[in-house]
Amino acid sequence: MDISKIREEFPILQEKVNGKPLVYFDNAASSQKPISVIETISNYYLKEHANIHRGVHTLSQKATSKYEAVRENLADYIGAESKEIIFTRGTTEAINLFASTYGAENLMPGDEIIISTLEHHSNMVPWHMWCKKTGAILKIIPINDAGELDLEAYTELLNEKTKIVSVAHVSNTLGTVNDVKFIIQKAHEFGAVVLLDGAQALPHIEVNVNDLDCDFYASSAHKMYGPTGIGFLYGKAELLEKMPPYHGGGEMIKSVSLLESTYADLPFKFEAGTPNIADTIGFGAAIDFLKKYGAHNIAAHEKMLHDYATEELSKIEGIRFIGTSKHKAGVISFLIGDIHPYDLGVILDQLGIAVRTGHHCTEPLMQHFNIPGTVRASFAIYNTKEEVDQFIAGVKRAQRMLS
């Protein structure tokens, strides 16, 4: 891969921030967009916009076929069938959809749901809500000091009451790649279904839901070089068939009389109302971008950046890495001495370097490590070793100022 050529595809990388060339290391929060995605969305509004699925006219049919082609493209990318892809606003909505349809239907008082200590809030809060509503009980997989799930403890948590296991494929704060195959296999032995929060996995590593044998998978386009406001829930068809609809309204019905409705087939049963057509089509361009370079190559490039940055950061006095799992995606979380992550982030920003600081929407994980937050650098396909050098120089400068 010629990274300098890839960088040319991202107009924002030519921008300056606070008078300095932008070094964008906040990819775990949201990645930047290639020109192909930007132009696809723009062209759609310029030349192709119409509402989808109902119109008999040419524009509507064109928009419908483009929209549905994305579903097929995405299904192909993750090894699913297109009717198993439900478009949502993002990972959070996908998890909420799952919790409030599958969860509401299948959870009885005393049933158990398993999540882990390292979950993002979006894979915690919905379960807090649904445990309250259904009387189900939440069980937590603990982690070790490296930020890896304690899989022995996990197997001990499983029993015949376990109905749902919902865990991150990759941790957004620590970068830990969880052994989800093992988690899924064990859960299935007890008849539980597994949802994977794939928000941090799909942009960085190869994902095949069929091969994983997961029951549900949630992710967001905007971390995959696509637009914000669009994501998806994958579900095994036989499970989705049995689930009640999420929202009621247009698009998700088969027929409506004054007193009752019958619902459309998959996947439309779960997609009420006019969807986010433009961004879905933009998502298609993002999937094409990922396919062009290949998840395997992207993962290898990001690993190189991760390993190089870790090695260089290790030379800084007082550095403390949070999350040292053997299997990591391109995320580094760290602290330096007693410098508050907020202070380090503010100074780095003045140098044009965008990192994330704080608890990263994983407050329980911060409580586990007894820290206020971390500084997190997360990489993407367009990042370079030179940028890592700038980042390291920035961290050293900030350290001098703040110590």
Partner: protein, 141 residues
């Protein structure tokens, strides 16, 4: 010195620095100079909750004037609250409640200290103003 005169002095002080680096170092110095609080004062009642770091603010009345003290776990945030206290501390509740804050906008850090970024700069100012209003009501009552 009035609150207004103090603000003008701070604007003048920051005008000496051309580089953002120096301005930040000056902010950090305000943080270092701030006495800070004992852990026993870092209570829920005294907290100004921000997104990334916390600020604790206390107030006591002496000879009809309000004396503020504050602390933060982040030094830049502590510097910002230190700057605010430099402006507001030691004045009557009436003066604190009614004098407009304009120095922050003018010291050339406005773009760097948006309410969100400055860890709830607005919340800090609100807390100072609300405290002053409460004391004014008490004095008048």
């Amino acid at each position: 010195m009035t609150i207004k005169e103090k603000q003008d002095q701070i604007i003048e002080e920051f005008a000496m620095f051309d580089e953002w680096m120096d301005k930040y170092e000056n902010i950090i110095d305000y943080g270092k100079e701030l006495e800070g609080l004992n852990d026993s004062d870092k209570t829920d009642e005294n907290i100004v909750r921000g997104c990334q770091s916390n600020v604790w603010l206390t107030a006591t009345e002496k000879d009809g004037k309000l004396i503020f003290n504050a602390d933060s776990d982040a030094i830049i945030t502590k510097g910002i609250i230190g700057l605010l206290l430099e402006i507001f501390s030691g004045h009557t509740p009436q003066e604190i409640a009614t004098t407009e804050l304009y120095a922050i906008d003018e010291i050339g850090l406005k773009e760097h200290l948006s309410p969100n970024r400055a860890n709830g700069l607005t919340s800090m100012v609100n807390k100072i103003k609300m405290t002053a209003l409460a004391y004014r009501a008490k004095q008048n009552g």
